[in-house]
């Protein structure tokens, strides 16, 4: 019969699996730390979602107004005709996004906290 008492390699294996699973859970849970603003497919800015404010971005001859409130972000006003991006409302979860096709404008919620450089 093989070993029945717990051995050192078992402890290493169990520790590695539990740490990796806890890391996966921690990495992918909770609200997003920042929002990425894309205009014409290029990253314009990383927005910290911790402070509430209104920001205007120049887009297609006019301005898109982005509102940050309590860790969530939405498009407050947009020059596009159907206003689908405004109707989408607030987003806060990781990986959620607002896309405004006529203005070629996109907001994506990113992972983790904003690093010092982009701040």
């Amino acid at each position: 019969m093989a070993h029945r008492r717990i051995r050192f390699p078992d402890i290493v294996l169990i520790a590695v699996i539990s740490f990796s699973s806890l890391w996966l859970i921690a990495r992918n849970s909770g609200r997003g730390g920042y929002a990425e603003i894309y205009y014409k497919g290029k990253l314009m800015e990383k927005l910290d979602l911790s402070e509430n404010r209104l920001i205007a971005y120049p887009a297609s001859g006019s301005a898109i107004i982005v509102e940050v409130k309590d860790g969530a972000v939405r498009v407050n006003d947009s020059p596009c005709p159907d206003k689908l991006c405004v109707k989408r409302g607030f987003i806060s979860g990781k990986g959620e996004e607002i896309i405004c096709v006529p203005s070629r404008f996109q907001i994506v919620i990113g992972r983790g906290v904003v690093d010092a450089v982009s701040r």
Partner: protein, 190 residues
């Protein structure tokens, strides 16, 4: 009165058959019992596979792992459903990893069982993602890994308790060894 030797049946084959029946039965009982969460099961039948891995070798453990899933799904009426495919893929992956870890000789029951439970859940998620195209995030994968690890450790504990019980019984009543196999043959069930 006929014994396995009269029928020219290998004693090991008989034990394999007995283990397949036992594992399928445990699988069926566990599938019928009410569950708190639909996808959370302890997987007690894995204990039989681990015992077979130690006592009968890796080839027979592999056979038992396949047949317990097929028979269990057949009786529960979910043969060739998504749940069956997920269970089969999980079982195959888990028994392969358990055989590999057993061959290295470094790990005890705890490590082998924990890895088996983890890989079983991962295999289910792989089927969910590749065959059925369901998207899931890393949070679900992490939860599946953690739950598989916990159930694996609990299974190893149950295995140790069961093994102690049977080895004590074998020490105290040596004639009881293979009693069940003889009973089956005496009653002409095989």
């Amino acid at each position: 009165m006929r014994f396995p030797d009269d029928y020219n049946i290998d004693r090991e084959d008989l034990r394999t058959l007995y283990f397949i029946i036992l594992a399928s039965l445990i699988n069926i009982i566990e599938g019928v019992l009410p569950k708190v969460f639909p996808f959370l099961r302890l997987g007690v039948s894995n204990i039989v596979v681990i015992y077979a891995l130690f006592a009968l070798g890796s080839r027979k453990a592999f056979l038992i792992s396949i047949f317990k899933t097929v028979f269990g799904s057949f009786v529960l009426g979910r043969l060739f459903t998504p749940m069956f495919l997920m269970g089969l893929c999980g079982s195959l992956l888990s028994v392969s990893v358990m055989i590999a870890l057993h061959r290295t000789g470094f790990f005890s029951v705890y490590g082998i069982s924990a890895a088996g439970g983890t890989v079983h859940n991962t295999g289910q998620l792989i089927v969910l993602g590749t065959v059925y195209g369901i998207r899931y995030n890393g949070k679900l994968l992490g939860l599946a890994l953690l739950l598989g690890l916990l159930t694996g450790i609990v299974n190893a504990f149950i295995f140790n308790k069961t093994y102690e019980h049977f080895s004590r019984r074998d020490r105290e009543y040596p004639s009881d060894r293979d009693r069940i196999g003889k009973d089956i043959c005496k009653n002409n069930l095989i």
